[in-house]
């Protein structure tokens, strides 16, 4: 009787043999109990094993997974690396209020954009600090939105923290971009309690933090988290998608972040 390898027995169990080979092996198995015993591990780890995980097939798909896919169009627009026309469309969608209100004072622009867009950046620092100084948190030009004032300062100098300042701006994580440079995910809370999540990126040696995504986060009870986790919920899926799209490697360690802040975001030497 010829020797049957484990691989061939396994292929038999998985239905990967030709009809001729299958018939030949069936005859051998009927006569050889040892061979049949060797087949059992492959039989058991076939369909019976699959059935253990079968519940995942029929369970309803969670909304967050559907959102992750459906929200993609927006997210790609936010990143807008490859298609300026789409990005321009996005700016209308996301920051249309500002463009519409470009002749108005920043605080008016904020109010308008919030009404028109529902998820626009808090343009006025008064929303954060209630002081009379009224620096804009972002400026807009040539289709690019750039952090300014307190937002720029926070991105430039603050270490990431998992405890968000309220009201205020808190970077929550820093990561290297795939094409060089760095991005920081941040949270922003206004005096009124509205919270925003966003991502701003700085090219290698570049002078400014460009805002890649900025969305309003619906109010929820904040949960104490000891480690960095991405924002959750459909509204922040876009932010997460931008992070996923741009991120190279993992979130930076605090020590590396301190070094980069000290060096003005110029890596190495």
């Amino acid at each position: 009787m010829s020797f049957v390898s484990d691989e061939r027995l396994m292929a038999f169990a998985d239905g990967e043999l030709s009809p001729e080979e299958t018939r030949a092996l069936e005859i051998m198995l009927a006569e050889d109990l040892d061979l049949a015993a060797r087949l059992e591990p492959f039989r058991l780890t076939g369909a019976p094993l699959a059935s253990v995980f079968g519940a995942a097939l029929s369970a309803p798909v969670p909304e967050r997974l559907l959102t992750a896919i459906k929200a993609h169009r927006r997210a790609r627009l936010y990143a807008g690396k490859k298609n300026p026309a789409l990005r321009s469309g996005l700016l209308d969608e996301l920051f249309g209020g500002l463009r519409f209100a470009s002749g108005l004072k920043p605080s008016h622009a904020f109010a308008l954009s919030a009404v028109l867009v529902g998820s626009a950046i808090a343009w006025s620092a008064t929303q954060l600090t209630s002081t009379n100084t009224d620096p804009a948190l972002a400026s807009f030009g040539a289709g690019v939105i750039v952090a300014s004032g307190p937002l720029s300062d926070a991105l430039e100098k603050m270490q990431s923290s998992t405890v968000a300042a309220a009201p205020g701006i808190t970077p929550v994580a820093t990561f290297a971009k795939e094409d060089g440079g760095y991005c920081r995910e941040y949270r922003m809370t206004t005096v009124g309690g509205a919270t925003y999540a966003g991502v701003a990126c700085r090219e290698l040696g570049g002078p400014q933090w460009r805002i890649a995504a900025h969305v309003e986060v619906p109010p929820t009870k904040p949960q104490a988290k000891s480690t960095y986790t991405t924002a959750s919920g459909p509204q922040t899926a876009a932010v997460n998608a931008v992070v996923a799209a741009m991120m190279a490697g993992s979130v930076l360690e605090p020590a590396d972040e301190v070094k980069l802040i000290a060096k003005g975001w110029m890596p190495k030497n």
């Binding site: 059992e40 591990p41 780890t45 094993l49 699959a50 995980f53 995942a56 097939l57 997210a75 990143a79």
Partner: protein
């Protein structure tokens, strides 16, 4: 939503089962599937239209999972141990299959090297052919078969060594 996104949504149940087999936990599985979808959508330009979308997504999922595994040494949680059924029938198959609880299978899979865990999830759970698995993992088909055969023999041994030892393993705290 374009056609690719619709097809991704159709693939979700299978991706979830694949991720469930890898992580042993449905919540972790959904995290992995979400990461996979986001990564896939962000890198859609790397997908060659005309090639199989499901193969490409399995590849992304297993890459992400292997990365996590290496970075954090994630270990699948033990599912709550179910009462072992002591079937005393004469049919050996019935006795063995009664040990195929999620807890026992999870424990068995977690003892395999990560690359073998991926193969088990792809071929045994997802029913991919050796050829498809070899193509996704970019290894020769002979390598797939020899690794998979070893993995399944080890898994079988772990499952059939008895519910008692599984219980002990499940109750032993991790380091």
């Amino acid at each position: 939503m374009d056609e690719t996104q619709s097809r991704m949504i159709e693939l979700l149940p299978r991706l979830r089962r694949f991720a469930f087999a890898l992580t042993g936990d449905m919540d972790k599985a959904d995290d992995l599937v979400q990461d996979t979808c986001e990564r896939a959508l962000a890198h859609l330009d790397q997908w060659k239209p005309g090639t199989k979308l499901d193969s490409w997504m399995y590849r992304i999922a297993q890459n992400l999972w292997l990365d996590q595994h290496r970075a954090r040494k994630v270990r699948r949680d033990q599912a709550p141990l179910e009462e072992a059924e002591h079937v005393t029938g004469s049919d050996g198959r019935t006795v063995t299959e009664s040990r195929m609880t999620l807890a026992a299978v999870n424990e068995g899979i977690s003892r395999l090297p990560p690359e073998q865990q991926v193969l088990v999830a792809m071929v045994c759970v997802e029913g991919l052919s050796y050829k498809e698995a070899a193509s996704i993992l970019e290894v020769p088909i002979g390598t797939v078969m020899s690794r998979l055969a070893r993995a399944r023999q080890a898994l079988y041994a772990a499952i059939t060594e008895g519910s008692a030892s599984v219980a002990v393993a499940a109750l032993t705290p991790e380091r």
